[in-house]
């Protein structure tokens, strides 16, 4: 066994352990030197990325991996803590680590003038570790624990600008909503444990029978995770917290939100994968019912998100409402793929939804970074107060145009590639849904053209004569995201073939997920 094999074997544990270790190291290091701390945080993320790359090459080539904590030979497997990594997890952790790297590069300059940065870096690394944990774990209770850690840490980070009352308010709303949600998840986990004496997802998926209690569990898990992902009408915490958190943090919180979305996928496709298409309700298979419920909520999300974004005056809040709409597109694709399970366009829809997950993270993230750069340069949040910034902030303007086109789904940027797949597949389920989605996408373009006009064009206001371009690290971060957006836009096939297709296959093929655990013990 070579060193490389050993590293790959232990990669699932190390991917979570290294950011966790780094998080506790931060307060000690920042007593020594501030610059050293920033470099250390970045290198920790790079190291995590290296392990993710190692793991990804192995999992994509050889199928799911199992990592069992604490013991080599298993006497009673059901109570062991285990991580299970399949292609879907690989897809998610790749997104998370990319977002984390960009956020840390961005916060080098953005957070420079604030104090309490040792705690900031600790919390950021904890948030990254918990998000990675949510995506790697193969155990419902650990999922809950990581979810709660990410709630607590995100709440503390949202309240980072503690001198603003609104930040505190947003953080309080976030913690109330998410802790109630997490408690309901714990209740659902208790119900599962009471029936099947098991906590790990694969064992549960194998023995699940869709009893009365399982229905309760399904509803609880889907609704709570949907709320954490920002599904209308449970989305209201999202604009509050996205709009008030520091933009670099927002990027990582987007990652945590997407991890909740991943939870929905895991629950529906893997945990309930065996039973959904067999059980009946209203003379319909339950998967059709679940699919149409998700589609209905998704369409409402798209419409409400876009319509509300149009009238926002606060730039970051506006982008947050656009993020709600983007989450709606993802749920639309997923709902279609569940409702039409087995038909050829279901796979297309699933691939489109997953690709859109990546694109949403990048596009919305890029817009938040640009909004943060504007805030850094002008110290103004409201759109009415800013004007004519394109004269002094040339690079930022270019990045905003890229983000604008990408988020509105204009060719040839990445947003179009995924929305194209979603439109085409949803059209085969029901044309009206597709038409609504396209109309809302056009409205989204109109909204961001308005933002572009208001912030970058127009006369030069006297207060902004000597506004400076954003510092270099922020430009680098924005450039990285923009570059990725263009790359995925021009070569969507490369991403789909290497990451998205295996992930979609892993979701649909839940028998493999189950047999990895049952066979591996």
């Amino acid at each position: 066994m070579t060193v490389l094999d050993l590293l790959i074997e232990h990669a699932p544990a190390l991917i979570v352990a290294i950011p966790l270790f780094g998080a506790f190291l931060m307060p000690l290091v920042s007593r020594v030197n501030e610059k050293l701390r920033n470099i250390l945080a970045l290198s920790i993320i790079c190291l995590t990325g290296f392990f993710i790359w190692l793991l990804a090459t192995d999992v994509l080539a050889r199928g799911p991996r199992l990592y069992i904590f604490g013991a080599k030979n298993l006497a009673s497997p059901m109570v062991r803590i285990l991580f299970e990594v399949d292609s879907m997890s690989i897809f998610m952790i790749t997104i998370t680590v990319i977002l984390a790297f960009i956020a840390l590069v961005y916060s080098w300059s953005f957070m420079k003038e604030h104090d309490g940065l040792d705690k900031y870096y600790t919390l950021v690394l904890l948030l990254i570790a918990s998000t990675l944990g949510m995506e790697l774990t193969g155990d419902v209770f650990n999922f809950f624990v990581f979810l709660e850690i990410s709630c607590i840490v995100s709440c503390a980070l949202i309240a980072f600008f503690i001198s603003e009352g609104e930040a505190l308010e947003a953080a309080f709303k976030y913690i109330v909503v998410s802790s109630i949600g997490a408690l309901f998840i714990l209740f659902a986990i208790g119900l599962l444990y009471a029936q099947y004496d098991a906590l790990n997802i694969a064992t549960l998926a194998q023995v699940l029978k869709y009893t009365f209690l399982d229905k309760i569990v399904l509803v609880l898990l889907v609704v709570v995770l949907g709320m954490k992902a920002g599904l209308v009408p449970m989305h209201m915490w999202l604009p509050d917290s996205y709009g008030r958190a520091p933009p670099s943090v927002t990027l990582i919180i987007i990652g945590a939100t997407l991890a909740s979305f991943y939870g929905v996928l895991r629950v529906i496709f893997t945990l309930y994968g065996n039973v959904l298409s067999n059980a009946m309700r209203f003379a319909l298979p339950v998967n059709v019912l679940v699919g149409w419920i998700l589609i209905a909520l998704a369409i409402i999300s798209i419409i409400v998100g876009v319509i509300m974004a149009l009238v926002q005056t606060d730039l970051m809040r506006l982008i947050a409402f656009a993020a709600v709409a983007e989450v709606g597109y993802m749920f639309l694709a997923i709902g279609t793929s569940i409702a039409a399970l087995g038909s050829p366009y279901a796979t297309t829809a699933l691939q489109g939804g997953l690709l859109h997950l990546l694109n949403d993270a990048l596009d919305i993230g890029l817009l938040f970074l640009v909004a943060g750069a504007l805030y850094y340069a002008t110290k103004k949040r409201l759109l009415d107060d800013i004007s004519g910034l394109a004269r002094n902030m040339k690079y930022t303007t270019v990045f905003f145009i890229i983000g604008l086109l990408a988020v509105a789904g204009m060719p040839p940027l990445n947003g179009f590639a995924s929305k194209f797949l979603i439109y085409e597949s949803v059209y085969q389920l029901n044309p009206i849904l597709s038409i609504v989605a396209i109309l809302c996408s056009i409205l989204m373009l109109a909204i961001f053209v308005k933002v572009f006009y208001a912030a970058f064009l127009g006369p030069e206001l006297p207060g902004f004569k000597d506004v400076k371009e954003a510092p270099r690290s922020m430009l680098l971060a924005m450039g990285l995201v923009a570059g990725l957006a263009i790359f995925i836009g021009l070569f969507p096939n490369i991403v789909i073939d290497t990451l998205v297709k295996p992930a979609a296959d892993a979701l649909v093929n839940h028998a493999q997920y189950i047999s990895t655990v049952i066979g591996g013990i």
Partner: protein
């Protein structure tokens, strides 16, 4: 390799860029047929406001909240309803969650 198949259609970004490039070339060619009467730094380039003076940038600036006035006014009913929904009250956030939970319980036949 660069063509994205969706089962019923396809999307090729490079092809698209090629077409747009050709379209731009054509437009540029058509533009060359026009007459060039534009002269820099003359009266011609100034805004004509019926002889009035040009106002200061502050007054001239159309604020973001005034854009799309027609759209928001015609959808006034929708906006009133949505504003009523977004109360900003934390209890209401949780209430929506409980309502969705209850509705789905009904749909799935738990209650």
């Amino acid at each position: 390799m660069f063509t994205l198949e969706s089962g019923s259609g396809f999307w090729n970004p490079l092809l698209w860029i090629l077409i747009v490039f050709i379209a731009f070339l054509l437009l540029y060619g058509i533009r060359g047929f026009g007459r060039n009467t534009y002269k820099k730094d003359t009266e011609q380039t100034k805004a004509f406001l019926s002889g009035n003076k040009e106002p200061s940038p502050d007054e001239m600036h159309v604020k973001a909240s005034n854009l799309y006035w027609g759209f928001t006014t015609s959808l006034n009913n929708v906006y009133t309803a949505l504003r009523k929904m977004h109360t900003g009250n934390t209890s209401d956030y949780v209430l929506w969650f409980v309502i969705i939970l209850a509705v789905l319980f009904l749909v799935f036949g738990v209650m």
